[in-house]
């Protein structure tokens, strides 16, 4: 049954979503594309839409994929799957977690896990750049895309621009650019 498949796939992803969720974008893509739920190009679209909404990008992408596969019920199944692992962990460990957080074994695991998660997030960025054709064989488009990416990074690092403002203004620039070229 498709709803159960969605729930199980996103439950599995939920268990591993360390690092606030961005790191899970490649994992969600792998699962969704392998299940034949969405094409890689359509997944890139869903990440763009996910970025426009409040809430964690990975969770939003999960909702989008769930909706595309099985409507509102699919979106609910994906959301429950994605959020249940963390809720269960809180209920099971919530009270003792204070004490074990600084235990040497736990600290060692996180020492090693953190750089792995960073690599996942940076890979998610590169992967999205390719899937959304930001970087492609079209040299002219790629140059424009990379210049816009550098502008976006400067705005985020030095001007602390709100993510939604960034996305909306870049969307308007894209429409204007398309209109000028036509």
């Amino acid at each position: 049954m498709i709803l159960l498949d969605l729930f199980i796939a996103f439950f599995k992803i939920g268990i591993f979503s360390f690092g606030g969720g961005y790191a899970m974008i490649p994992v969600i893509e792998h699962e969704s594309v392998n299940h034949g739920w969405i094409s890689a190009a359509a997944f890139a679209d869903s990440v763009s839409v996910a970025g426009m909404s409040p809430g964690p990008v990975a969770m939003n992408a999960a909702i989008f994929v769930g909706y595309k596969v099985a409507g509102v019920a699919g979106a609910i199944a994906a959301t429950l799957g994605m959020s249940l692992p963390s809720i269960l962990i809180i209920v099971l460990l919530g009270t003792v977690f204070y004490k074990i957080k600084d235990h040497p074994v736990i600290a060692s695991v996180f020492y090693g896990l953190r750089p792995v998660i960073t690599a996942f997030i940076l890979f998610a960025a590169c992967r999205f750049a390719i899937q959304s054709h930001l970087v492609s064989s079209d040299i002219r488009k790629s140059v424009i895309g990379i210049v816009m990416l550098l502008i976006a990074l400067v705005l985020l690092f030095y001007k602390k621009v709100h993510p939604l403002a960034l996305i909306l203004s870049f969307g308007v620039i894209g429409i204007l650019g398309g209109w000028l070229m036509a």
């Binding site: 490649p26 040497p104 690599a119």
Partner: protein, 202 residues
Amino acid sequence: MQQGISLKALWQLFFAFCKISPVTFGGGYAIIPSLEEAMVNRYRWCKRDEILDVLSIAQTIPGSVALNAAAFIGYRVAGIPGVLAASIGMLLPTFLIVLVLAVFFIGIKDMPQVRWALFGIAPAVVGLIMFAGLRTIKSSVEDIVCLFLMIGTFLLLLLTNLNPIIILILGGTLGGVLGWIKYKKNEKNKPENDIKRHSADQ
């Protein structure tokens, strides 16, 4: 666990997190100020310094920081019913917003203007994800071992078709073992260093 959890407390949890939820743009960190305002000043569910503990736990366990923080506070205020009230409160608004966007988007996605808008949005989204990743480097890459772990993981993701979850488990296990070796080495060296320093002082 608290006795006689009132329905009022559950509603308060639900509404408090409903209001915080739409603020959580681009990862969970944006919620910290509004979380503090509601939890500490308004409802007095926790003290100011406890917010830091809540956040450090929320960042450590899997899942989104915002949802974890909500579930944890819900648990402390009203046990398992509190977890449910707070989590649903946190999830519902963004769920509805994404759903509306998804329905709307699927209807218009092939219009040329939409394709152009997405072409403009792509660098912004890549920038947001990179920004999130680059910001974690400061706390995640402590030494050269971490740097190699990061680069190795990145190359595995880029060059192989392995299931990313396998890569995560492999990398996390290897990193954990290396972290443990580092911890043991530090522990062995520590007393010696102290002794050396002592003798140098004398």
